[in-house]
Amino acid sequence: MIGDGSLERFRREGRIVVVGASLAGLRAAETLRDKGFAGSLTMIGDEPHEPYDRPPLSKQVLLGKAAAERTALPRLRSVDATWRLGVPAAGLDMAARRVRLADGDEVPYDRLLIATGVRAHPWPREAEAQLDGVFVLRTRDDSAALARRLEAGPKRVLVIGAGFTGSEIASACRERGLAVTVAERGAAPLVGALGGVVGAVAAEMQREHGVDLRCGVMVTALEGDASGRVRAAQLSDGSTVETDVVIVSLGATRNTEWLAGSGLGAGPRGIACDAGCRAFDIRGIVTDDIYAAGDVARCPHPLFGYQFLSLEHWGNAVSQARIAAHNMISESTDRIPHMEVPAFWSSQFGVNIKSVGVPSLGTEILISQGSLKDHRFLGVYGYQGRVIGAVAFDHARWLPFYQELIETTAPFPPSFPTVDRRSDGQRPIDADFPDPSVPTHGPTVTLGGYSPADRRMTFTPAH
């Protein structure tokens, strides 16, 4: 593609395959067409459904305000693609440029986009995970089944893991008037993402809304009755929770197994790619025809010391999809990097939570507006003397300002007065993130050994 017209030809009649037909996959396909890609486009997805939206699955759907079947993503334009739904991709031959499907078919490509996302981490003991009444929440089907079960009025719901999804589920259950117990290994809900200072507020919110919140404990076993229905859970503090619905919310695993042995730099932490979403192979060399976007991708971010960030954020999936699509059909000099500042939102217990930047990289926090006590505040996270993230509880309208501080690497703590700076915001304090070697939820990978020969990667599952 060195100005010999081959790029033009590719844009006209090339073959692009997208694996993962959800948010990132769809938005990439739309962008490809928007930018004039006229060749063939194949969308491969293991779920039988057309692309749908996940955020409502743990909110409106569980509240009975929206049917899980009615969460289809709006189509921004027609994509004129061949859809292969309900069939997982099972392998990749990089040399022959083919994707192998589970049904034995092979789909050739000139350019490939991988957007296979993540899946919920299952309950680690398989027999217990099979009990009737034990759920995870990632897909439309998960959500429909869970909503039906909540509709039936269980006597108690147990949520294992108080990350964003677990907390949202607990919130929806309380709003429905159901008894809820939340068990969290960390010291507070949301502590992995937002630290202990903000986590304490989240804990207060849960308790004020009647959640039986247990922190610093692990669920050690699930028990079923004779008919195979879950009836109780054993906790590490020796207590038992009687429950008929258990939702396992222990974080997610990246959908990269199908790439094993392909030579692509893909593993449990995702697919490593450059800032332009081009995937690396296992030698650390960037490919020119394979791209990754969304939850499955891990990209270096220039603003955050070129750290490879993998983010499970809706907005990140959309923006990476657009960048990847653009770059797939562009001359190398026209390619653009993914520079968006990460942003995330959640809504639980009547509070709108939004963050920008990467709060979890911060070591200190300053409550720059509002107050923790009111559960309405803005917290700024600092890392080595600069602003690295911010979180808003019912204060989202101010976030663009803080995003600018992050983008311009403004000094931390911010020295200026603001409207609504109260007594708890006079000084920065330790943001109180858990020791990273003690996982809260989500699997971790650590490296061990010294010489290159015995250097190994250790995968620690979430539980």
């Binding site: 507006q369 509002g370 009111d374 309208r397 663009p400 603001t418 609504d420």
Partner: protein, 411 residues
């Protein structure tokens, strides 16, 4: 010698078309004239200042040295404390939140939408009553009575009191109008009296609603006991007065500017006649193209802040010229073109940040109804005067009268 830009903004001679002055202004995004306010005219700078927590809306933070030709006469004499528009958090947040409870989501998601039938009836009634199609003053006969009637219904003002309400509203709106030729003491006194009378009237109404609550907003505000506790009577009064004034003078201008724009673009008017759903994008583009609030003159800095290399000192008065930002070519393609098919339209017409227009959902719906019904029912409408006579007001800009004619009124 040429007039300073600040004076040109205020000069009534430029009211019909202030956009060339804004274009001048944008050449220096932070414009400052000797002792006057700092005038911000470019899109991105305005937007970021609207989200900047170092910017206050509370006049008490204004340095006494900041001279501002729009500064209102001393407030102490007025009986009412400032409404939440002129307050900072946390007071602002609390009052706005409480006011929102009976007005919008999450607690009252259907309030505005539930008014559709009523809006339609009011619009129909006003159009039915237009009289001689050969000469209609759209402002007097339509754009003015419509939103005032709506706000009265919303607040729960009895129909028989609506006329008195109109008069007070008129006087108060006029007082926001910095007319250099009018006698300030005279005007100030008129406004003061109107404010007093309105305040007393509202106080009586509130008392009545406390004992005898209905479905209206005033009843709900007067009897609220949410997590924020009750509103004091003074808070209730200033909130009600704010809703009344902010809630209608702006919509009057939006509707009038809208009809004026459409009459200048008969092709778009015809499209709207054929398809009333076009009212939605038309109103959005209108909010960009001819916003009823041209500038926000009531902000001040809590610290020295830097904007585009200029340090604005603490306590300075800021003017954020929304209407100029809306036509910033750095942000919008072909900004001086009215284009209802524009897709990328994140305008500043309703502000942004915590003070973004409280009544936006209602104003949008009112204007959509007004424009689509006028388009549908007026037969061959045309302007009798272009440009029409404008009000003096540089902030709440709009025609004082909009004389039009048509061949007849369709049923």
């Amino acid at each position: 010698m040429t007039q300073s830009l600040l004076h040109q903004i205020l000069d009534h001679a430029n009211r019909a078309n202030p956009y060339p002055i804004y274009e001048q202004l944008r050449k220096t995004p932070v414009h400052h004239e000797d002792g006057g306010p700092y005038v911000i005219s470019t899109y991105y700078e305005i937007r970021s200042l609207l989200h900047d927590p170092r910017i206050s809306s509370d006049a008490r933070n204004l340095a006494s040295t900041a001279r501002d030709p729009l500064a209102e006469p001393a407030r102490e004499e007025s009986a009412l404390p400032p409404g939440f528009l002129r307050l900072d958090p946390p007071e602002h947040d609390r009052l706005r939140r409480m006011t929102n409870r009976p007005f919008g989501p999450p607690h009252s998601p259907h309030r505005v939408d539930g008014m559709r039938g009523e809006l339609h009836d009011i619009v129909s009634g006003l159009i039915d009553g237009l009289g001689d199609p050969g000469r209609i003053d759209l402002v007097e006969q339509f754009s003015y009575p419509f939103p005032v009637t709506v706000i009265c219904r919303l607040l729960g003002v009895p129909r028989e009191d609506e006329a008195r309400f109109h008069t007070w509203a008129d006087t108060l709106a006029a007082s926001l109008d910095p007319d250099p030729d009018a006698d300030p003491t005279e005007r100030g006194k008129g406004a003061h009296d109107a404010r007093m009378e309105l305040g007393m009237y509202l106080a009586g109404l509130i008392e009545e609603r406390r004992t005898n609550p209905g479905e209206d907003m005033l009843s709900q505000l007067a009897t609220a006991k949410g997590e924020d506790g009750p509103m004091t009577t003074m808070e209730l009064l200033s909130t009600a007065a704010l809703l009344l004034i902010a809630g209608h003078e702006t919509t009057v201008n939006l509707i009038t500017n809208g009809m004026l724009t459409l009459l200048r673009r008969p092709d778009v008017l015809e499209r709207l006649r054929a398809d009333p759903r076009l009212a939605v994008p038309i109103v959005e583009e209108l909010l960009r193209f001819e916003p009823p609030v041209q500038l926000v003159p009531q902000r001040t800095t809590l610290a020295d802040i830097e904007v585009r290399g200029v340090t604005i000192p603490k306590g300075a008065s800021l003017w954020l010229v929304l209407a100029s930002g809306n036509r910033d070519p750095q942000r919008f393609e072909d900004p001086d073109r009215f284009d209802p098919d524009r897709r990328d339209i994140q305008h500043l017409g309703l502000g942004s940040g915590i003070h973004s227009c409280f009544g936006a959902p209602l104003a949008r719906l009112e204007t959509q109804f007004a424009l689509s019904e006028l388009a549908r029912r007026l037969e061959n409408p045309r302007l009798l005067e272009d440009p029409p006579p404008y009000r003096q007001n540089a902030v709440l800009r709009g025609p004082r009268h909009l004389p039009i004619a048509c061949d007849g009124i369709r049923p």
